[in-house]
Amino acid sequence: MNALLREARFLAKDRGAVLWIVLALLLSAAATGFGIAEVREQRQTIAALLAEDAKDRANAISKHDAWGDAAYDAFHLTYAPPSDFAFAALGQRDTAPWLHRVRMLSLESQIHEADTANADFGLIGRFDFAFLAAAVAPLLLILLLHDLRAGERVAGRHDWLVASAGTPRRLWLPRAGVRFGGLALALLVPFWIGAAIEGAGFGAALAASALVVGSLAAWWAIIAVVGRRNASPPALLAALVGIWLMLALLIPAAARAGIEAAVPVPDGAEILMLQRDAVNDAWDKPKAATMTPFLARHPEWRALGTVEKPFEWKWYYAFQQVGDQQAEPIVTAYRQGRLARDRAAGWAALLSPAALTERGLERLAGTDTRAMIAYEDRVRAFHARLRAFHYPLFFRDPPYDPVVLDGLPRYDPAP
């Protein structure tokens, strides 16, 4: 304890080291603030749309007197609300859609219409707490620790200090430990405040703190190994920045390129085009071309499955579903490909403490690939409930009664 106090007092007098720690504090406050602002904006967007959702749907339904027309114009809001911890790691919420307004048409094109590029794994992303902790903090730690020994060697104090301390451990461990602790606290205090403001669970905050400290400890070990070399401080700094570049940027980038090449994934636009073509082509095909595959999936409507008029809503919505059925192989490939890439990225992250930390924080925040795919699955499940609600109305075609539509399924965002 005495040694830590001694080194804390010593650190307080070292303007260069204090500058890096204050910078870490400011960056952490900024990253936490940006994260909270972004999450609040997302929540406000969801709240604003939720406030209008039921009203818009009621308004659309009130204008019609047929089940098919009402279903066509009725939009349903689906969304993945950010978790209480999402402010710390926005992750895939930057690239994957987390909000849709779906209706009874083909679903996959609705899910992917804003998804012209792949929403695949994220390794290095926006400036949030996860990016700061994973990629920037190690650089600050390098700046704080790289010349602990070498700087004293150059100043001619190394042997004097060690001789005074008796053992190297009694000197370097508390000196490096105080700097390490100072940096960790500078990073974590704004994060803890943010977690308290956002109401994040204690367990998640604790796990995230352990992840950040563990990541910094891994970097400390790297710096300690390199710092033992009898080289000048600039040479050590250059070597450590090179290692940081490799571990924090090059390996993740190379892994990403390698995984993308090794695991081909169709992009969202392909799904959109395929399904729209399927739906548009259905207008020109014989009715049986739609109804046969539809009834194969829904034999319960076989008795009412004959289409006699040139246009019937049951046929129209059947070819919307058949559009989804035709897109199923590519949708499955897309989903599995993203999961396969994510798994591969998880293995690759073992080579990069930065990627591993960022992925860990995104997992805790529920903003990783698996969480976003889970949201898409919830949208699919909700849409299936919508279809199950509407098909009896389309196929049996009872007299139109808007009160029946009060019983429309409601989307539940809970996982």
């Binding site: 001694r6 070292d14 042997d159 004097w160 200090l161 005074s164």
Partner: protein, 240 residues
Amino acid sequence: MTPTLEARSLVVMRDGAAVLNDVSFAIAPGEVFALLGGNGAGKSTTLLTFLGFLQPTAGDVLVAGRSVGDDVEAARAKIAYLPEAASLYGHLNAYENLGYFLDLAGRKVSRAALDAALDQVALPTEARQRRMQSYSKGMRQKTAIALALLRDTPILLLDEPTSGLDPVAIDEFHAMVQALAAAGRTVLMVTHDVYGACQVADRVGLLRGGRLVGSFAASDAGGRIDTETVHAAFAAREAA
């Protein structure tokens, strides 16, 4: 009586070359031993070996009768070391520097004791609160000497201790070393300064090329080593 410091047939090899070669000497408690030698003679290597920073390739070094290699921490705890060109922290003042190094050595010293030591080395009072980056070389050396005094250890290893000191301060330093020896401290100093060594030391050893090539004791010369004799021997050895 067990010597406080002893080198036994000490050999230290660095990069394949012998920096110290079969060096033997023993320093009794309360004795001041000065090692003289030119650049690269092995003077600082001798001190670093006693401090455990360099391992003997052959032979041994002992502190208070115990091999340094057996317990380097115990050996260091008995030694106050003053390195050549002692470089204290420029961003700290004299009190903070002394406090830091003493704390590192596990010693708590009062402000009054710090002032007493700084008075002893004649560091101006007005300078003590200033950052050391504004100090002259002599002022820095005085502060480092004060630190060695404050360590209150039975052994002092001094590497060119009068470097940067003015003539008056050198005389005061020599008087201080003799007083410390009289109080029972053992001093091993290495220096280029033949005259200073003869003035302060009980014995002077000549190191050349890693070998101890001559030794002069005050007791053999009526209480004081003859500077001219040592100088002549030193010059002859250096010329050889």
